[in-house]
Amino acid sequence: MNQLDWGRVLEAIGAGIGYTVGLTVIAFLGGMILGFPVALMRVSRIRALRWIGTAYVEICRGVPVVAWMLLIFYGLADLIGTDPLIAATVALTVVATAYIAENYRAALLHVPLGQWEAAVSLGLTRRQLFWRVIAPQGVTIALAPSATYAIGLLKESAFAAVIGVSDIAFQARTLTQSGQPGLATFAVAGAVYLLLSLPIAAAARTIDRRMRTRSAM
């Protein structure tokens, strides 16, 4: 059995961290931005929009992330080129958008009825009621579950290795292929994922605590 070459393993995996973190951050921010309009479609009074929103969410959540990556990498090469990083980013963002849209939707529906009644009683129009009272609270309520979801996103980003993005998982696999011991190498990679997830978990808890005082929930 080979001895683990710590220097080599840490250097390679360290080089992968940037890809893993970058992918996760971009997909998360993209999902936070694009998820809101999808959620609006999901709660729209217009049936066609509701249908489109539901179709998007169900399709994007129902197909595994790795399948999206392969589909986009091989299928859309003509459109977005053959850069695996771009394909992986698009795929992860597509899926994150669907999950975060559902967080927004649930949050919007969770704003208590009393908030609607108070706003309506003050004479606000439907549009004012939604944008001034419901939406700000909905976004706030959705922050905590979305931050928790970011941990899942960090781990799902490992599928990018399948199409050749040189992230942590890719570096670990390459190391084992060049003779590093598998168990130890992947344990180190796993530990790095864990370390990266801890600050996200801490942030999610802080947001959850703060936001409870800022919504009527």
Binding site: G114, Q128, Q137, T213
Partner: protein, 256 residues
């Protein structure tokens, strides 16, 4: 409050009916509220008091009947009010809820200025000035920049009263404003309501606070089973109720 012409009531409710499926909640209610009067709606739970109050600003849509404000029907067809009719009636009525329902994402001051700007089109300076003046009146000026969640229940309800008053409504509607509060906190809310009454504010109050009804209300209306059983000045009704249901209800709440 703007004086109304002659003897015309400020709020006139005539033949109001409302049912949820088979269940009749309001069975033809007729009630007038004169300008400057405080009317207390009392009765057992399920009597239809809150529904009646919520029909006045169309939070509940009545099936039949007429609701007039200042002599003008608030909707051509009360069972199907138009958007502009709804906005108009809500501009003229101020609603205070049992659960306060302040906007938790806004400061106390912003809670009171928001609708002034959006609904009445006041400048932010004017709205702020009015809000501070009202916060003074309810004794909470120091809470202007606080969040509602940093205020006690009694404070939140006083802020909710200021928020409703800020739109200068012709009538204030209170839906069990102290039922979610401890008795010692209720006192501060009831004091504010009493001061409003003394200033001549027209008020309709659904309440279980018989002490408040007795001391502050000009008239008490007793509802039971969706009907207006009787109404009159509080002293007379409390000492000499005309109907068996009223007597039984009063005996129960006064524990006599």
């Amino acid at each position: 409050m703007a004086p109304t012409e002659g003897d015309q009531p400020l709020v006139r409710i005539d033949g109001l009916r409302k049912s949820y499926g088979e269940h009749t909640v309001l069975d033809g209610i007729t009630l007038d509220v004169n300008a400057g009067d405080v009317v207390a709606l009392i009765g057992p739970s399920g009597a239809g008091k809150s529904t009646l109050l919520r029909c006045v600003n169309y939070l509940e849509i009545p099936d039949e009947g007429v609701i007039e404000l200042e002599g003008v029907p608030t909707a051509a067809a009360p069972s199907a009010p138009t958007k502009s009719e709804l906005l108009a009636v809500r501009r003229k009525t101020g609603m205070v809820f049992q659960g306060f329902h302040l906007f938790p994402h806004l400061s106390v001051l912003r809670n009171i200025t928001l609708a002034q700007e959006l609904v009445l089109g006041r400048s932010s300076e004017d709205a702020e000035q009015r809000a501070l003046q009202l916060l003074d009146r309810v004794g909470l000026r120091e809470k202007a920049s606080a969040r509602p969640t940093q205020c006690s229940g009694g404070q939140q309800q006083r802020i909710a009263i200021a928020r409703a008053l800020a739109l200068d409504p012709v009538v204030m509607l209170f839906d069990e404003p102290t039922s979610a509060l401890d008795p010692e906190v209720s006192v501060e809310v009831l004091r504010v309501m009493r001061e409003l009454a003394d200033l001549g504010t027209t008020m309709v109050v659904v309440t279980h606070e018989m002490g408040f009804a007795r001391r502050v209300a000009d008239r008490v209306a007793m509802l039971a089973g969706g009907s207006l059983v009787e109404q009159g000045d509080p002293a007379t009704m409390f000492s000499d109720p005309q109907h068996e249901v009223t007597a039984r209800f009063l005996n129960a709440v006064f524990d006599r």
